[in-house]
């Protein structure tokens, strides 16, 4: 592609920070298996442990609470399945899993797996039209039979519409009944203030590549007293909870990225929110009937500062994406995980959107490299693009009569 790119898809992945790239590259040049007992093994181990300490400090956790994984998906799988299996083993009555209806697939699918294969009874917690989980429904669900609940899992902030969940209410509701809470904080880190200890959470998922860190690495932060059944069995490198040779360079990079993004967050949260507000204003200016999905307040406590999510009535998200892409503007129709064929977003459907509006949606997400120029590029393009997409949208929904 020779066109200049405008990257508005930081929720999918972010450019690696220069300092992180340096850390990872430097460490890749050094030999060492962190489990080896000799000097180069110890040197690798030292990097791992210093990374663990720095990451823990940045997230308000203790080093011993950090379990490194191959990324957010593995951490979510470990948390959901590991908690369920441990709680269920301790008391066979604990079969209920309470999960918000707007979880990322990395939580959604493990939960469904537990229902399909391990007799879990899943209750999908409803959300309001902004995508915020209904705490009263959670409380009612818990109270109905607290002894049968294995875990609660509610993400910190939604990856599609950016809605920040009322986590402290969720945690206090669950803890009243001694039920552990997991939260996927992949989108929250670097955008919102994240403090594990203060959150009261029992387990929290973190990913590297969403905060300017490397791909293929993440962490599950989990309180020491929480029992987890492992997912990957083997050498037991991460305290017997996770096996696999430690990826020292990636771990160093993850830690550096989390530290940097947490340090910047107070400033960058404000900066991104202002940029995002400009973006929303520009889009609504160019396309007055566009619908801003998620919480309209723009308050950091309610919405991710980097998130803007719209439905463009009469358009197909796919068409918008194609047209913007041709203009060098990169965004997403939702989660980037789907294998090609767009399904109506379960998040929007849970928020009450019809499948047509759901398919007419587009997410713009800002991150550490976002600039005013990005917003200006989108502002110039969005009007004509939506106009064209509407033509295509009308054409495409017209049934051919034979």
């Amino acid at each position: 592609m020779s066109v200049p790119r405008t990257y508005l898809d930081h929720a999918a992945t972010t450019p690696m920070r220069a300092e992180v790239l340096e850390v990872v590259t430097a460490r890749m040049r050094v030999l060492g298996n962190a489990s080896s007992l000799h000097a180069s093994g110890r040197a690798a181990r030292r990097v791992v442990e210093e990374s663990r300490e720095a990451l823990a400090a940045a997230l308000g956790a203790r080093p011993s609470e950090v379990v490194f994984t191959s990324g957010g998906t593995e951490a979510d799988n470990l948390a959901v399945k590991g908690l369920y299996r441990a709680r269920q083993a301790a008391d066979p009555r604990r079969r209920r899993v309470l999960a918000s209806a707007v979880e990322h697939h990395a939580v959604l699918d493990p939960v469904k797996w537990l229902a399909d294969a391990e007799e879990a009874q899943v209750e999908w917690l409803p959300v309001d039209p902004y995508g915020r989980v209904d705490v009263a429904a959670l409380r009612a669900s818990l109270a109905a039979d607290p002894g049968s609940v294995a875990l609660v899992t509610v993400m910190w902030a939604n990856n599609e519409v950016g809605t920040v969940q009322p986590l402290s209410d969720v945690v206090s509701a669950a803890h009243e009944h001694g039920v552990p809470v997991h939260s996927d904080a992949v989108q929250a880190v670097g955008q919102l203030p994240v403090d594990f200890a203060a959150s009261g959470l029992d387990a929290m998922t973190v990913s590297g590549h969403k905060v300017g860190g490397p791909l293929g690495v993440g962490a599950l932060v989990v309180r020491r007293e929480v029992e987890l059944v492992p997912l990957l069995h083997g050498g037991g490198q991460e305290r017997d909870v996770r096996s696999g040779t430690l990826d020292t360079p990636a771990i160093a990079g993850l830690s550096a990225a989390v530290v940097a993004s947490q340090e910047e967050q107070p400033e960058s949260g404000q900066r991104l929110a202002a940029l995002r507000d400009d973006l929303v204003a520009a889009v609504l200016g160019a396309v007055p009937d566009a619908v801003l999905n998620g919480d309209p307040s723009g308050d950091l406590r309610r919405r991710l500062p980097g998130n803007a999510h719209f439905s463009f009535p009469g358009c197909e998200g796919d068409s918008l994406l194609l047209l913007l892409d041709a203009r060098g503007i990169e965004c997403s129709t939702g989660s980037a995980c789907s294998a090609g064929v767009a399904q109506p977003s379960h998040v929007l459907v849970a928020m009450g959107a019809g499948p047509e509006l759901a398919r007419a949606s587009l997410r713009f997400s800002l991150g550490h490299t976002s600039t005013v120029a990005d917003v200006e590029a989108l502002a110039r393009a969005i009007g004509p693009v939506v106009e064209r997409a509407r033509l295509a949208g009308v054409v495409n929904t017209r049934k051919v009569s034979a």
């Binding site: 194609l322 041709a326 294998a339 997409a389 054409v395 495409n396 034979a402």
Partner: protein, 370 residues
């Protein structure tokens, strides 16, 4: 020109897209996801819409350095092609779904959408030629490779659609296309052609219809109405079929028996000798004209199956906009629902859907069931 290349994941559409790029067009690749439940790689044989095909198409687009998207047309495909296919069989007709797909999906929904999005043309890997008639009009002609010629399934395209169709393989032999794919480093170079109906992955059309329509047992009879056997569903039989009738004893005259007629409504399959299959004329409905609509009487050739032989034919339109086609050499085993495509030399004149056939052994046109 801004060109949308429909890329199936096969070798033909990949080379077609490559040639469009070479020709200097601004090409975007699109894979049409047509299956409602796209089969994951691991649970099924190949059909045209598997994830593996999407991946192959994407790899080809990567290699060509063109943007690539997957368009979800499953809903349209289901409504316009699959349901039509089942309904036609249920009515005792024998449809051609590829033709229907070209008519209603590829050169309708896809083309329309492409045009709306600013594209000038849709490019496919069909073996057929679009020739400039000199007066701004474009003509559809048979491909240079007679064994691969697909002009028959494109005989439903209108002049308007032809204006925006690009078939870069029309001049080339299939073997050369494979060789070219290899030369270009396209991984699909050695991929086998798909032959069967794409949405019936295992090739078992009878089974597919049985699942779609349920069992409908009935009798297999001869021309006199004598019951010779039983069947589980008339739709599983095709006019002209010889094998799999399971009649046990041979005909009294010792000659092989063929399916002459399929009547799902009456749950009746009629069998008889080969010569009773010969058809000397067909009545076509819903004509489509690739160029100017037929005026007076047409003299040329007609083709009744995708890989059938063309036969000399005469045709004329009737007042009710149906088409009567006299086949100057009888054609064996024509079923209602098939398309009759008229050719003037290599040029496709137009097409219609066979509604009734006139048997060589009879003087009466035989009606298809509606």
């Amino acid at each position: 020109m801004r060109v949308l290349a429909a890329m199936s994941g096969g070798v033909d559409s990949a080379v077609a897209a490559a040639r469009a790029v070479d020709a200097g067009h601004d090409v975007v690749g699109v894979h049409l996801a047509l299956a409602s439940n796209p089969a994951s790689l691991r649970n099924g044989a190949r059909g045209c819409c598997t994830l593996e095909d999407a991946r192959d198409a994407r790899r080809a687009a990567d290699l060509l350095g063109i943007p690539f998207y997957v368009w979800d047309l499953a809903e349209r495909f289901r409504a316009d092609v699959v349901e039509d296919f089942v309904a036609e069989y249920a009515a005792g007709r024998t449809p051609n779904p590829c033709l229907r797909c070209n008519e209603r999906v590829k050169f309708a929904a896809v083309l329309d959408r492409a045009v709306a999005l600013g594209f000038d043309a849709v490019c496919t890997g069909h073996y057929a030629r679009v020739v400039d008639a000199g007066d701004g009009r474009r003509e559809l002609h048979r491909a240079a490779d007679p064994a691969k010629d697909q002009s028959y399934v494109l005989g439903v395209l209108t002049a308007e659609q032809l204006q925006r169709a690009l078939f870069p393989l029309g001049d080339t032999l299939k073997g050369d296309v494979r060789e070219e794919a290899g030369r270009r480093g396209l991984a699909v170079a050695g991929k086998p052609d798909s032959h069967d109906v794409c949405f019936i992955a295992d090739g078992d059309t009878a089974g597919f219809l049985r699942r779609s329509l349920g069992a409908a047992p009935g009798a297999i009879v001869d021309a006199d109405g004598t019951v010779l056997g039983r069947h589980e569903g008339a739709y599983a039989y095709t006019v002209g079929q010889r094998r799999g009738l399971g009649l046990g004893r041979p005909a009294s005259d010792g000659r092989p028996r063929y399916v002459l007629d399929v009547s799902p409504v009456e749950r009746r399959v009629t069998v008889g000798p080969a010569d009773a299959l010969d058809v000397r004329a067909v009545l076509g409905v819903r004509p489509r004209w690739c160029g100017p609509p037929l005026g007076g009487e047409f003299h040329g050739s007609a083709q009744l199956r995708a890989h059938g032989e063309p036969v000399p034919a005469r045709a004329r339109r009737t007042a009710a906009d149906t088409l009567v086609v006299d086949l100057l050499r009888p054609v064996r085993g024509v079923a209602p629902g098939q398309a009759v495509v008229l050719y003037d030399g290599t040029r496709v004149v137009g097409s219609a859907t066979v509604d009734r056939v006139v048997r060589a052994s009879s003087d009466v046109a035989e009606a298809g069931r509606h």
